[in-house]
């Protein structure tokens, strides 16, 4: 058979080389949402930390970016639907077996909280009697959003993993680490771009810790999944993940060495954001590639059967 000759190392049979599982029909809206959702979560944490430790520039940048990223997320999610006018059908049910249902509710709650926090940034412009309640509500929203942020950043890993898409499903133990790390690094990037060096100490540390989580997770996904690691190291996904790693390294180096320079800090922040974007698209594309080639469905299942009977 044709595919036998092409893939001598992993002998398998298939139906005319056609995929067994169906590749996701999600467009790159969903990959973009993985990034903006993480950015919203990281920014909300940055805002809460900044406010709690008296760093107003971090608070302001975190709150406004969280809202902006949330609006972008909502756009991407609705735009990807086959029937965008029915997006509210997501809110008919709360279904624990569906990570998308769970995620919709997390995102909705986060949206309300992050919205209140961002609006409160405009409190000084409001008439006197309104200022205080809006500020209080904003603070509550800010901490509410921060409390939800880890869930917002990591549920998307479950969303991808809870599919028959071979390389996503196999990566379920490590995807949440990548997504949590890249959300932290994104939040840190916002702080580095927006705040003066005197306030960015925590953002620099967040960048280092986020990068460590992200790189560790990506390393696991690229090396420990047998042939299911392949789609993450080859083709477009491989190029994107390698670019992500380089940009992360540059961003962290800049964050650590450029403490005194506003320009270097901002550049490293941008590098961290670009890294998060590349990584999310790489993970997305790796999964899609694994579904398109029947080898990635059939060979691991055959090995599982051989293992359980032998």
């Amino acid at each position: 058979m044709k595919e036998r000759a092409m893939v001598p190392e992993a002998d398998f049979r298939s139906y005319y080389g056609r995929p067994v599982v169906r590749p996701p029909v999600w467009r790159h809206d969903i990959a973009a949402y993985l990034f903006t959702g993480g950015l919203a979560a990281g920014s909300a944490l940055l805002a809460a930390g900044g406010d709690a430790t008296g760093r107003p520039a971090l608070r302001r940048a975190g709150r406004t970016t969280a809202l902006g990223a949330l609006i972008a997320s909502t756009y991407f999610l609705i735009n990807d639907l086959g029937r965008p006018s029915r997006f509210h059908h997501m809110l008919r049910v709360a279904k624990p077996t569906s990570p998308m249902s769970t995620g919709t509710w997390i995102l909705s709650a986060f949206g309300g909280a992050a919205g209140a926090a961002a609006v409160a940034e405009a409190a000084p412009l409001l008439p006197g009697p309104l200022r205080r309640p809006v500020t209080v509500l904003g603070t509550a929203g800010q901490y509410g959003a921060a409390a939800l942020a880890p869930a917002l950043a990591t549920y998307t890993a479950v969303l991808l993993a809870d599919t028959a898409t071979p390389s996503w499903h196999a990566a379920y133990p490590d995807l949440p680490l990548i997504f949590a790390g890249s959300a932290l690094a994104s939040g840190a990037g916002v702080g580095l771009i927006a705040a003066p060096p005197a306030q960015t100490g925590p953002a620099r540390r967040m960048a280092v810790l986020g990068a460590a989580l992200e790189l560790y997770g990506a390393h696991r996904v690229e090396t420990s999944k047998g042939i299911l690691s392949e789609p993450y190291t080859t083709g477009r996904a491989g190029r994107l993940l390698r670019a992500g790693r380089t940009l992360t390294a540059l961003g962290v180096a800049g964050a650590l060495l450029g403490r005194r320079s506003r320009v270097v800090s901002a550049l490293s922040g941008a590098s961290l954001l670009a890294a998060a974007l590349a990584t999310r698209f790489g993970i997305f594309d790796g999964g899609v590639a694994s579904a398109k080639d029947p080898r990635y469905t059939i060979v691991p299942q055959r090995e599982r059967l051989a293992g359980s009977s032998g």
């Binding site: 599982v21 809870d162 379920y172 680490l177």
Partner: protein, 275 residues
């Protein structure tokens, strides 16, 4: 007989399904046509694939039954082949369909409640609810359910929910001239399938095997299962399918750990070290 009542209905009916016996399939595609006619399924394009007599390719939003054609050498023992040279060719034909899984990935992940379990234990999309989120599509371990491009929603076999509700046989089984597609109560079909595979083994067809009949497999068994004459992957079926949601609790545990790590990283970042 099978009183599974998978959907938790107050008035459950016996679980209904298909037993597709590919050993008697003649590849006439009456099932494909009858399904399209009854369910008003649009055409799937008119391509010539060059895959034997198969120009449908596979199950899709617009093909709810699909007849696979495989041309291969008749299995013989190695010694006989060495003596006589390569033997005859044979055709395998198989009418594929949605498996109506006991643990259905598509249904588990649907965030709108559009996919539901009927009183007959089958899995059906409600087209007035589906918003085309697409989640069910990668969640099916068999690559069955699919998005209809010009319509945006997800479509698949309904096991003729309308006909079955009126006590009729699904269109494909009704049209099948060889009784390759048998419709009935799942428990009774499982017994029939076991008897058939035994009979074939008795006739020397050692390669006959059942697929999807076992309630202990990775999807809890199929409501629509098969008798095959070669490995499942030869027909485009996964050899050991597992419903993705089986690992969902473990996935949430890993996400929870990562979330905690994230929160801890923020606390450390803001409380530790220099400004």
């Amino acid at each position: 007989m099978t009183a599974d009542n998978l959907g938790g209905w107050p008035d459950p009916q016996p679980r209904m399904g298909f037993f597709t016996d590919t050993s008697v399939c003649i590849g006439c595609k009456a099932c494909e046509v009858a399904c399209k006619e009854w369910n008003a399924v649009p055409d799937d394009g008119f391509e010539l694939l060059g895959h034997s007599y198969d120009n449908t390719g596979g199950l899709s939003a617009n093909s709810w039954r699909h007849v696979a054609f495989i041309e291969q050498p008749v299995p013989t023992d190695v010694l006989a082949e060495a003596e006589a040279g390569p033997g005859d060719m044979r055709w395998l034909m198989m009418s594929n369909v949605c498996k109506h899984c006991t643990h259905a990935g598509c249904l588990d992940v649907c965030p709108t409640g559009s996919l539901f379990r009927t009183e007959f234990g089958t899995v059906v999309v409600q087209e007035d609810i589906c918003n085309g989120c697409g989640y069910c599509i990668p969640a099916c371990p068999y690559g069955v359910i699919d998005q209809r491009k010009d319509d945006g929603r997800a479509w698949k076999c309904t096991l003729c929910y309308d006909r079955v509700g009126d006590g009729l046989t699904p269109a494909c089984a009704q049209a099948c001239p060889t009784r390759s597609i048998q419709f009935g109560e799942v428990g009774e079909l499982r017994e029939r399938a076991a008897a058939r595979v035994e009979a074939l083994h008795g006739q020397g067809v050692g390669e006959a095997r059942l697929y999807g009949h076992d309630p202990d497999d990775g999807v809890g068994g199929n409501g629509a299962f098969f008798l095959l004459l070669d490995e499942p992957e030869v027909y485009g079926l996964p050899p050991d399918p597992i419903v993705p949601t089986r690992d969902l609790p473990a996935m949430w545990r890993r996400a929870g750990l990562a979330g905690l790590a994230m929160a801890a990283a923020v606390v450390v970042s803001f409380l530790g070290g220099r400004p």
